[in-house]
Symmetry: C2
Subunit: 404 residues, 2 copies
């Protein structure tokens, strides 16, 4: 008689954003006239840039003719895209990353869930707290996290690095040395980040204790300050300790297009074993490439027109971020983030519980945000709003919140 | 100090089709004038059907406007696609499958590699031999297969069900009861299949011994005989023991488009635990939906025009299959498959080793096929040719083989 993966039984509740969606749906059915504004899930609202649309139409046409039709893509991505990534995301920043160290995928969510597969189940992970739920949940599913404590809302075998206003949201080196360290910078959900010099210390630490850093750079395009690294490979020694994940979702609006990539440097080795070769094997066995049309869309992000257009989109979202942040401040809230990231992280008023504030905001302002506690125990008493709505909705949401 | 997943170290050599690609590349560099015809990897060559192209252009245009732009897709697939699948692939065949039992994905390769995640590492798998390499390799990576024996080319903890000409390529119930049974029918690589009455016996067997069947129906569109099931859910009792995987790659030419789906019936339970809920959780945590544009392409496969167009394409490939099969017979080969599938499976002449025959064919006819032993030990002495080339190339390849 077959048995299931019992680790799934340990997972409490459902995936955060599914829970929010259900709550909003229930409220909406009860209040059909409510004009709900969602600043909750980090989904973009601006349409794809013209250069990207043009590239996709062209690629679709290529698929219509036998001479230009493309079947299976190269396992790890088309050269045209890998080369564009290297040139723009690495060479331009002085990072020495080769095209065959880039693994193109269907998105950073898949990669951030799958990357743990190439590591031992004995490894202990460290995560910032609060944190993007996929890092922990994917490790729970694999059996790496021990047991869940409902009271503390923590896993017995996970090292939590609290990021709270008391430490300026900067994770501190844990007391026990971890094996795998997840860092998302600029951070989701807090919207904060650390300086390049601080990131260098993390690279030094990882190399010293023999840890691997899984570096999620999904929000890199939102960095506005010059002393913040766009890639972990800007730090010396990162190629021997870090894997970098990158998304096209937030810089180019690809949440419904699905494209990402992972960098596994050839110098990254565990003893004699190349992690690059392991990830290539994993990708080659359990994945069959991102769609040709989508990879052409990704290439267009790096064209001159594409770069200008997506930069403007990011600028629009950052205008929302500034507006939301200032508006909340005016309304008396304590707010963080929003400078190098599209997320605004606020302290709930009167230490309200995060989910209570979620309900309060939904019911009284018809505004949807994300409860901080959904991202980890240290997120309790915080709340996330995103700048990915339209300008009009951002204005309207802030007006409503001010009136509360 | 972090450690790697040691199971990867157990995997011998590289993924079959990567090895072939490297061999062909090396030959091609040595013989730049050779006009190589590939009937090797099962990649399609006909361009996408007009109805699909039209749907994709329309979807691309929707992504260009804020009013019609789509961000994150529903985790498990858009309703328009899930409903079209249910209506055409299940209702039309008298199978009672609900839309929310359909999980849309980026392809059957990903699903067939990922599905094992929701099962216990203690489960023992059974596979047909020869078999699509992903089933075994993904279980090796997870640690379910024991150790590899280089001499026998088998894994110590895998139950092999030989499918050879002596048993008409019909797998027999294994002596020891397996927990998870992988069945691909019509079969890749042998191109053969079993009757619906025989499949019913497998469903009965699985329900009796408490095994789950992972049923890969990727080649269903090529079935030409009426007593062969298109879906395992045509068999009574399948909903309590079977998961079905389905690809758009072969019926609609989506190898470079990437779309598939998995059916996990709600009745499929291990004790009290719903496998449907587990797969939903896995999908929701580690996957973010197939691209909107690609899901619209999938929907178009089920439009009236789309259905007629892809049927014609399948018909073209089956003409190639008949041509290759007859041609090989004329040339004195013993051949199988090609009636309900686009694969022709041949006995190598004089019991030549599969890889020797690969080299022989590449060097002397400049034709690329796939060595049977690459699919498992019982594939030794066999060789696979696909009907997915163009008609001209299929004719030319057979002419060359006849002249050997």
């Amino acid at each position: 008689m077959y048995q299931i993966n019992e680790n799934y039984q340990k997972l409490p509740g459902s995936y955060l954003f599914s829970t929010i969606a259900k709550k909003v749906k229930a409220f909406s059915e009860k209040n059909p006239d409510a004009n709900i504004i969602s600043l909750g899930i980090g989904d973009v609202t601006q349409p794809l840039a013209p250069a990207i649309i043009e590239a996709m139409h062209k690629a679709v046409d290529e698929m219509a003719n036998a001479e230009t039709f493309r079947g299976y893509a190269p396992d790890l991505g088309y050269d045209f895209l890998r080369n564009a990534i290297v040139k723009n995301d690495y060479e331009a920043r002085g990072c020495d990353i080769a095209a065959d160290e880039i693994f193109v995928s269907d998105g950073a969510k898949s990669d951030s869930g799958n990357i743990q597969e190439i590591f031992s189940l004995e490894n202990r992970i460290a995560v910032c707290d609060p944190v993007y739920p996929v890092y922990v949940d994917s490790n729970v599913m694999a059996g790496r996290c021990g047991d869940y404590n409902l009271d503390t809302q923590t896993w017995s075998n996970v090292i939590y690095m609290p990021c709270v206003k008391e430490n300026d949201f900067v994770p501190e080196f844990p007391k026990e040395a971890p094996d795998m360290i997840y860092l998302c910078l600029p951070n989701n959900p807090t919207g904060t980040t650390i300086k390049k010099s601080q990131l260098q210390e993390w690279v030094n630490y990882a190399n010293k204790v023999g840890a691997v850093i899984i570096y999620d750079a999904a929000y890199e395009a939102y960095i506005s300050e010059s002393d913040v690294a766009h890639s972990i490979y800007e730090c010396e020694g990162a190629k021997t300790c870090a894997i970098e994940l990158k998304s096209f979702s937030k810089n180019a609006g690809f949440t419904g297009v699905r494209l990402g990539y992972t960098v596994v440097p050839k110098e990254l080795k565990c003893g004699d074993v190349s992690l690059h070769d392991m990830w290539a094997r994993r990708h080659g066995t359990k994945f069959n490439g991102a769609p040709y049309i989508i990879q052409r869309a990704g290439e267009a992000v790096y064209s001159d027109a594409g770069k200008a257009q997506v930069k403007e989109q990011v600028g629009n979202y950052m205008k929302n971020a500034a507006l939301i942040k200032e508006g909340l401040k005016d309304a008396g809230y304590e707010v963080f983030g929003g400078v190098n990231s599209p997320y605004i992280w606020l302290k709930t008023p009167q230490n309200m519980k995060s989910w209570d504030f979620f309900d309060y905001l939904l019911e009284n302002a018809n505004v949807v945000g994300t409860p901080g506690s959904g991202f980890g125990p240290s997120g309790e008493g915080y709340f996330r709003l995103t700048a990915f709505g339209s300008y009009e909705n951002s204005v309207a949401a802030i007006e409503r919140i001010k009136k509360l």
